[in-house]
Structure formats: structure tokens, C-alpha cells
């Protein structure tokens, strides 16, 4: 098969960072080519060079046998290169049809030709087997359908190369299936896909070839069928993978937190459990099982209708998050972008924010002290940032997550509630987070670990609570861990439910 896109010896540096060094990348016609690497390995820089967002310092780009200079995203699009963006580039208030054509509507003299737009969209949908309601507002579509809108838009613009950056990050398993079958159809139409994902199992499922980047250098490019998962991971992180899940050396101690009979709206029903000092307590359950609501109640964001919370044996009234953090409870939310960080602020600012009560003695913030403490945290958590004055929005996902953690560790929180802490970050960063969690537990802190990924709960936790429809339906000790049992319990249909059951 011929190469549609060839990148030779691409180098790019930014002030203080060599983002790419002599990277070669070859994309064949009609293939799915996975681009993998840890955060900061240079994937996004490479993609941005292909999209014309950045210009390489050196190297050359050959598109269909001709050397090209890609000036900007519009130019890339006219050359047949499109990107499906991680943060969805759709207009929620406009219809599907408008979304497909916005920015390049056909028609003369500034007028829009709706009829030919509709015809073009319908023809293309039939051709590639995508089915979308053209008159529906995009905001009413599922995330997967919104991605299909972007893909269809790329196809309508006659894209030959489509770059997909973490397309499954917010998709459910079923939606991922739909996306993959669309990708396969694209392949059969000769479209090439550059596929970026942290979910390595997807790489093995959908990609033909894989290019691995590490620290800005290409370390391997190979057919996916000739590579094993552990070879892939080892090449990504650059070392042998012995202990993916670290072993905790200490055992849980006294009761730290006790929750009794918490009921909330129709979301939680009589939830009771205990968590111990130095314990990693997993909470498993499907989306909507009440996991996050429970976390929010313990952290005081929501007030329960009924029930009580005990901290080290004393009953506490957690009226608001401020009170919770005074009591030594920390909550690291699932959506760290929206809830966990103030993105346009510096690392220093973010780390010190919940710690302001411990930093200053007077009204004014003691900047020097703030700086010193955040530098210490950056070092302890191995946050990769040029300095503590760097804006958090410019950090990679894994490093952002570490900044969120730093905030609460500095606070000396006794209980850390972590909601999907490894969501959307790469293997190496996940591994680092696991080590950190074990480390914190060994210091006697209680960690409540909420996750949809059962393997990591099984690998990390002392006990796992299983939630379904707002109730705790099972508790497993480490000796009794079984993937099957937990999954059936979390999703399953039991006698109780058949008889009375929780509503909603």
C-alpha cells in the first residue's frame, strides 16, 4: 500500500522544551494508524504540525508524493486533512445540517444553499452508512453522535486523512462500537485515520499500525499484529513493567469514617459503610449508581435527607465543602477540568488555594511561602511543569491530575475521596497515581477510590463496595475479589429488585 502522508525528520522545540526530535511518521492510504505515547511524549505537537497549527523547525512533509507546507488548519482542510477534536467542536444550538457545513456553506453571493447542503449530506450519509437526524439540534444528540457529526463533516470536505484525538474518551462501550464500525467503513473507502488513544485495548482492536513516541522521539513503529501489549507499554514508558499495581505494605487500622443510613432524594437509599485508617476502599458501580453523589455528600456539596456521618467515632455535621476540608476530608472530582482546577491560573495558585488557611498568618497571602510549598509538592509528586508559575491549562492531563492531588495532600487531608482519578490519563501517569495512592495509604490516610475500571479497583483496593441504583449491594474483602461477581452484582438483576426495588 502506498503512503498518503510522510513526515521526515520532523523537529520542533518550544521555549525550554524539545517537543519533537527527528520524528519520522508514515501513514498509508486506508489504514488506521495509532499514535501512542505518554502525556508529553509529543503526540499533540505532531498532530498540530500535521494540522498546520505549528510549523516544524526542520524536516519535511510529503502529502501524496508532493512536498507541502501546511500553513494553518484551513489550509490543512483544503489539502484533505481534518481533525476530530477531543473537546467536541460542535455547535450545540445548531442543527446537524448546519453543523456539517458551518464555515464552508455552499452557495453564491454570501447566500446559503440549504437544498444542496441537504442533498450532499444525505448522499454522503448513504455512501458511508452513517445515519444522523439532519434537523435535530446537535445539543440533543449523544456524544457518539456528535462525534459522527464531526466525522461526517470531515468526509463532506473530502478529507483523505482524519485525525482522531481521544475519540472514545467520553463514549460508552456501545457508542465506541458504533464509532469503530464507522472507522472500519472509512477504511474501506480509502480514508486514513490517525488514531490517538490512551486506551491501549482500543489500539489493538482498531489499528493496523502503531507509532510510539517517547520524550519527543519515535521509538517504534510496527504492525499492531506483531506487537504485544506489554511490549507496547514498555516502549511507551521506557522501562520494564514489573509492578503495575504497587503492593501496600501496611494493613488498615482503626475506623476513620463511618457513614450510617444516608438517604438522598431518590439517588441514594440507606447507605452505610465504614472506612479504615490506611485503607484503600474501592467503590464500584455503573454510571448513575450513586457513587459520585455519595462522594459529594461526604464532602458536603450535597446535604443528605437522612443519615449521619462519624469521623474517628465522633458524629460530624458536614454542612459545606469548607467544613469538610477543615475536618480533613478531600474530594478530587471526576471532572478535574471543571471542578478541580482553575485552569487559567498558575500551578502555585492552584496548589495553595484550599490551603490558604495554613499559608498566611495575616490578611495577605504570603507569596514566598506559597511558592516554597508548591515547589515542594511539585517535587514530591513529580509534577512535570517548567515552574510553579506555569498555567495549569498548559499542563498535560496526568500532570493536571497531580496538581489536584497536590492541593489536598498539602492540606494533610485524612480522607481522600478520588472520583475516577485515572480517567483520561496515560499508562505511565496512571502508574504514578497508583504509587502515590499506596504511598498516602501507608501514611495512614484513608482513600476512597471510585472507578468504573474494575481492574484497577481489583489491583489497588483492600475492600470494594459495589453500588447499584443508590444502594450498596455488596462488600468484598481482598481475598474474595472476583471480577465476575462484582460485575454481575453491579449490573445484575436480583430478587430484591424483582420484588420491590429502588425506583428510577
Amino acid at each position: 500500500m502506498e503512503n498518503i502522508l510522510e513526515l521526515f525528520q520532523i523537529s520542533k522545540s518550544f521555549p525550554g522544551v524539545q517537543a519533537l526530535k527527528d520524528v519520522d511518521f508514515f501513514l498509508k492510504k486506508g489504514e488506521v494508524h495509532a499514535l501512542v505515547g505518554e502525556n508529553g511524549a509529543g503526540k499533540s505537537t505532531l498532530v498540530k504540525i500535521i494540522m498546520g497549527v505549528h510549523q516544524p523547525d526542520s524536516g519535511k512533509i510529503v502529502l501524496e508524493g508532493k512536498e507541502v507546507k501546511i500553513l494553518d488548519p484551513n489550509h490543512a482542510r483544503s489539502l484533505g486533512i481534518s481533525a476530530i477534536h477531543q473537546e467536541l467542536a460542535v455547535f450545540p444550538d445548531l442543527t446537524v445540517l448546519e453543523n456539517l457545513f458551518i464555515g464552508w456553506q455552499p452557495g453564491k453571493f454570501g447566500f446559503v444553499d440549504w437544498k444542496s447542503m441537504r442533498e450532499m449530506a444525505e448522499t454522503k450519509m448513504k455512501e458511508v452508512g452513517i445515519n444522523l437526524p439532519l434537523d435535530e439540534e446537535v445539543g440533543n444528540l449523544s456524544t457518539a453522535q456528535q462525534e459522527l457529526v464531526q466525522i461526517l463533516r470531515a468526509l463532506l470536505q473530502n478529507s483523505k486523512i482524519i485525525i482522531m484525538d481521544e475519540p472514545t474518551a467520553s463514549l460508552t462501550a456501545d457508542e465506541t462500537k458504533i464509532l469503530f464500525s464507522t472507522i472500519r467503513k472509512l477504511k474501506s473507502h480509502g480514508v486514513s485515520v490517525i488514531y490517538i488513544s490512551h486506551r491501549l485495548e482500543e489500539v489493538f482492536e482498531i489499528a493496523d499500525n502503531v507509532t510510539i513516541l517517547r520524550d519527543g522521539v519515535k521509538v517504534l513503529d510496527k504492525a499492531v499484529k506483531d506487537i504485544t501489549p506489554s511490549e507496547l507499554i514498555e516502549n511507551m514508558i521506557g522501562r520494564k513493567l514489573e509492578t503495575y499495581y504497587p503492593t501496600k505494605k501496611t494493613k488498615p487500622g482503626n475506623v476513620m469514617l463511618e457513614v450510617k443510613g444516608i438517604t438522598f432524594n431518590r439517588v441514594l437509599k440507606d447507605v452505610s459503610f465504614k472506612a479504615y485508617e490506611g485503607e484503600i476502599l474501592g467503590i464500584s458501580g455503573l454510571l448513575g449508581s450513586g457513587r459520585s453523589t455519595l462522594a459529594k455528600i461526604i464532602f458536603g456539596i450535597l446535604r443528605p435527607d437522612n443519615g449521619s456521618i462519624y469521623l474517628e467515632g465522633r458524629e460530624v455535621k458536614i454542612t459545606d465543602p469548607m467544613k469538610a476540608s477543615m475536618l480533613g476530608i478531600a474530594y478530587i472530582p471526576e471532572d478535574r477540568h471543571r471542578q478541580g482546577l482553575i485552569l487559567p491560573e498558575t500551578v502555585r495558585f492552584n496548589i495553595s488555594l484550599p490551603n490558604l488557611p495554613v499559608i498566611p498568618r495575616k490578611v495577605l497571602v504570603d507569596i514566598a511561602r506559597e511558592k516554597e510549598l508548591s515547589q515542594e509538592m511539585v517535587k514530591r509528586l513529580d509534577i512535570r511543569t517548567p515552574s510553579v508559575e506555569f498555567l495549569t491549562m498548559n499542563l498535560s492531563g496526568g500532570n493536571q491530575q497531580r496538581v489536584v492531588l497536590a492541593k489536598w495532600i498539602l492540606r494533610n487531608s485524612k480522607i481522600l475521596i478520588m472520583d475516577e482519578p485515572t480517567h483520561g490519563i496515560d499508562v505511565g501517569a496512571k502508574n504514578a497515581i497508583y504509587h502515590l495512592m499506596v504511598n498516602l495509604a501507608e501514611q495512614g490516610r484513608t482513600i476512597i477510590f471510585i472507578s468504573s475500571e474494575l481492574p484497577e479497583l481489583l489491583g489497588m483496593c483492600d475492600r470494594i463496595l459495589v453500588m447499584r441504583k443508590g444502594e450498596i449491594v455488596g462488600v468484598f474483602n481482598r481475598e474474595e475479589f472476583s471480577e465476575d461477581k462484582i460485575l454481575t452484582l453491579a449490573a445484575g438483576f436480583t430478587e430484591e429488585e424483582a420484588v420491590g426495588g429502588a425506583g428510577g
Binding site: 494553518d72 477534536h85 467542536a89 455547535f91 445548531l94 458551518i102 464555515g103 446559503v112 440549504w114
Partner: protein
């Protein structure tokens, strides 16, 4: 669903008119209806401009003052017998110019238009008070009022002009590429940028257009009288925003329809006239408008919340 807001507005309009007619027969006379249409005509063009500004994700508070500057200066030109056609060009051109200044400052300094136009509102109002010394423009020539009093099929020219432009805009907003970009920018700024749509260009042009429409409103409004008070147009921005929001345009940008705004304007002016008929003191007029803005916004927010909850 598709008819939703427009249908509700129409219904409210009919119910209200029937109610007032019931309490006070004579409300639904040609005279009252004509007054309502005329008041609507004066507001309509500004409301259409405001609709587009709000859809693009901005707010323009300066239109009342811009209208005042255009109306007063045009009237003063009329005192020198400048022909009507030139007055029109002057008023629209001046309005566009003042709008363009708003746009330029907003885009160049990357400040919300709300702040820029708040300043412009105060500046131009102050200017016009200084310019006129607080005096009204009087003794206007006969041809000045020709525009406002000429009737075709029993309706005065401003009604014909404003409503024709309104109906035309319903189609143009759907058909013209630029207006689709206005929706795109208001709906998802980031995505618009990724697609190469210039937010700055949209903001600038939308504010300029709004100025030009305020300029044309100025003549439609002022040409009904022989006396132009220096406080003409005060509170126009409030009425326009109220009508727009009531008409279903999302105050946060991204969605809205001209047909909704037309109905919104009709409803607001009908309410004002009803207050007169029901002997409710006119001091309540503004309070009413404020409450209606608040109600419309709350209902929008609730709808958005229900929608996001439904998706969970």
C-alpha cells in the same frame, strides 16, 4: 417543539388582548391596534439588531443613546431643510459609525461588549445633553413629519418599513452565510475558531449593524413628532432586550429567531398599551419589563437544566 415559543407568544398575545377587550371594550379598535403597531415599528429594528447581538453572545446597551444622537442631529439638519433621503443616509451612517466604534473597542481590547456599550450609553447620552443644552428640537419643517404620517392602506410608513424589514430579516438570517456564523460564534466560540470563523469579525459587524438599525429606528421614531426631546430613546435597550428575551432568544447566545423577536416586540407594546387601558400607572412599565426579562431568563435556565438532567 419546533413551534414552541412562537406559538406560546401568539397565544399569550391573543389571551391578553381578549382579556383587556373584555374588561375595557374598545381596546381592540383600529386606533389602538395602530398605536400598538406604530410603537412596535419604532422598537422593532433595534430589537432585531439586539437579537443578533445577543445570539452572537454579546449585549449592546448603547442603542438608546445612539438613537438619541441620530435623531437629534437629523432633526437639526432638517431645520436647515436637508432633504429626507440625505437625512436617512446620515442617520443610518452615523448609527453604523457609532456601532462600529463599539465593535472596534470590543474586538481590539477584548472586553465584553456589555462593558463597552455601557460606557458608550453614558458617553453619548452625556454628549447629547451637552449638545442640546437639554433643550428640545422644535419648529421642525412639515416634510419632517411626512415620513411618520404618510399612510398606505391606512397604516403609516414606519409600520410598513419596520415590518417589511422584519419579515425580510427572517429569511436573510437563514439564508446569509454571515448570519449563520453569528449563531456559530454564540453557540461555541472555541469550535468556531477551530473552523476558521473569526469571532472578532462577527462581533464587529453585529455591533455595527445594530448601530445602523438604531440609526434607522431614530428616524422612524422621531418623524412622528414635531418636537424631539433630548431624552429620546432612553430605556430603549431595556425594552429591546426584554422583547428579544421574551421572544425566545437565549441570553447566553447561540439560539434565537427573528420571528420570535417580532412577536416579542408586539407582546411588549401590547402590554404597555394594556397598562394604559387598565389604568395602571405608567411608572410600572419599566418594572414590568424587568420582571418579564427575569421570568424569561429563569424559564430558559430551567429548560437548559432539565435538558442536561435528561441527558444524564
Amino acid at each position: 417543539m419546533k413551534l414552541g415559543r412562537e406559538f406560546t407568544l401568539l397565544l399569550v398575545l391573543v389571551v391578553l388582548a381578549t382579556f383587556v377587550q373584555f374588561v375595557h371594550p374598545g381596546f381592540l379598535s383600529f386606533r389602538t391596534i395602530h398605536v400598538i403597531l406604530e410603537n412596535s415599528a419604532v422598537m422593532l429594528l433595534s430589537a432585531i439588531g439586539t437579537t443578533l447581538v445577543i445570539i452572537s453572545g454579546q449585549i449592546d446597551l448603547s442603542i438608546g443613546s445612539v438613537l438619541a444622537v441620530c435623531a437629534i442631529t437629523s432633526a437639526q439638519l432638517a431645520l436647515h431643510n436637508v432633504p429626507l433621503v440625505l437625512l436617512f443616509l446620515w442617520s443610518i451612517g452615523l448609527g453604523a459609525g457609532l456601532g462600529a466604534i463599539n465593535g472596534l473597542v470590543t474586538v481590539l481590547f477584548k472586553v465584553p461588549a456589555m462593558i463597552v456599550t455601557l460606557a458608550a450609553m453614558a458617553i453619548w447620552r452625556g454628549f447629547i445633553l451637552w449638545w442640546t443644552g437639554g433643550y428640545w428640537v422644535t419648529d421642525l419643517p412639515d416634510y419632517w413629519k411626512a415620513l411618520g404620517s404618510t399612510r398606505i392602506l391606512n397604516f403609516t410608513l414606519p409600520i410598513w418599513i419596520a415590518f417589511s424589514i422584519g419579515v425580510l430579516m427572517i429569511f436573510l438570517v437563514r439564508k446569509i452565510r454571515f448570519f449563520r456564523h453569528v449563531y456559530a460564534v454564540g453557540s461555541n466560540r472555541k469550535a468556531a475558531k477551530l473552523l476558521g470563523i473569526s469571532e472578532g469579525r462577527v462581533t464587529f459587524l453585529v455591533l455595527t449593524l445594530n448601530g445602523a438599525l438604531a440609526g434607522s429606528s431614530a428616524l422612524l421614531s422621531a418623524s412622528r413628532f414635531f418636537i424631539i426631546p433630548s431624552n429620546i430613546g432612553t430605556g430603549l435597550e431595556l425594552s429591546a432586550i426584554a422583547a428579544v428575551v421574551v421572544g425566545g432568544t437565549n441570553i447566553m447566545g447561540g439560539r434565537g429567531k427573528i420571528e420570535g423577536t417580532i412577536l416579542g416586540v408586539l407582546l411588549m407594546t401590547t402590554i404597555s398599551s394594556s397598562l394604559v387601558f387598565l389604568h395602571i400607572e405608567s411608572v410600572w412599565d419599566d418594572a414590568f419589563k424587568g420582571m418579564i426579562i427575569l421570568l424569561a431568563i429563569i424559564s430558559d435556565v430551567l429548560r437548559a437544566r432539565r435538558k442536561s438532567e435528561a441527558r444524564l
